[in-house]
């Protein structure tokens, strides 16, 4: 069974992301939630997930810092990171992809956006 960590300080955003992931095919999945980057990193170190979906703007540790920690860790470097944030114009998207995010989606999200971004990772 796949494991996905969703990191966002908004419980509403986490719920929406989870629901959209279930709609696109991740229904047989274990979801874990973190309300900031620090919590997400702790969860990842304890048990590396198959995918991290993270917001950018979070207290304690933001998504960009989290991404940098992940890419600097030999244990976590290969975990795909999808960024979902309200701060995603083309310049920011390019910057985040350069730092290691495989895709960047702007809020508000919908299942079609996730389906497109996650095509290589969708369950068979």
């Amino acid at each position: 069974m796949k494991r996905i960590i969703i990191a966002d300080d908004s419980s509403t955003a986490r719920m929406m992301i989870r629901r959209c992931l279930e709609i696109v095919g991740f229904n047989e999945t274990i979801f874990e939630e973190a309300k900031d980057g620090r919590e997400a990193l702790a969860l990842m170190k304890k048990n590396p997930p198959d995918l991290l979906v993270s917001d950018l703007n979070m207290p304690s540790m933001d998504g960009e810092t989290l991404l940098q920690w992940i890419k600097a860790s030999p244990k976590l470097v290969n975990i795909p990171v999808l960024i979902i944030s309200s701060v995603t114009n083309p310049a920011k998207t390019a910057e985040l992809k350069k730092k290691g995010a495989f895709a960047v989606i702007g809020k508000p999200i919908n299942p079609a956006m996730l389906n497109e971004a996650l095509a290589p990772f969708l369950p068979e």
């Binding site: 300080d9 908004s10 419980s11 509403t12 955003a13 719920m15 929406m16 703007n57 979070m58 207290p59 944030s85 309200s86 701060v87 995603t88 114009n89 083309p90 310049a91 920011k92 910057e95 702007g106 809020k107 508000p108 919908n110």
Partner: protein
């Protein structure tokens, strides 16, 4: 200033409608600011800062009854099961999404921007001051929404927006 306000009016109308439609299938309609606005007594407010490339404050007020409808739709729960935390979180997430969409639409594609975390505030409209560059009102499901934008450096903002 008129050109900036025209740009903000058109962009805000588009992004607020898209945001609420996407989040909770709710359509918004801009109302004449000259008309009397419903009492702000039962409205909840939140604000956030755009910290780069220019400092701005966005303040969003939404009627609590409308927030309840949004929470009910998004969480697919009954009205009696809504918690105060869900109302505050939905309000903050709405402004966060709205602010991001607004800046993405306004700024040139090669210009990055940063937002602060949303903060709940007591005053919905925080009466207009010298820094207010735009204030408007919308109705959704017959309930009011207000938005106010302030900027620390209007001329700098106009330069970035190529106005």
């Amino acid at each position: 200033m008129a050109e900036l306000q025209k740009m903000l009016a058109a962009t805000l109308a588009k992004v607020i409608d898209e945001t609420l439609e996407n989040m909770a299938f709710i359509s918004t309609e801009e109302v004449d600011t000259e008309l009397e606005f419903p009492s702000t007594e039962n409205m909840r407010a939140v604000c956030l800062l755009v910290t780069t490339p220019v400092v701005m404050e966005l303040r969003l007020g939404i009627a609590e009854d409308l927030l309840r409808i949004i929470v009910e739709t998004m969480y697919t729960i009954n009205a009696e099961d809504i918690t105060p935390e869900q109302i505050v979180d939905v309000l903050a997430e709405t402004l966060n999404t709205l602010a991001g969409r607004l800046m993405t639409e306004l700024l040139p594609t090669d210009q990055t921007f940063s937002l602060s975390l949303p903060e709940t505030v007591a005053d919905v409209l925080n009466s207009a001051d010298d820094n207010t560059i735009f204030a408007t009102r919308y109705m959704a499901n017959g309930l009011p929404i207000s938005i106010k934008i302030s900027a620390a450096a209007t001329e700098e903002l106009k330069t970035i927006l190529k106005l």
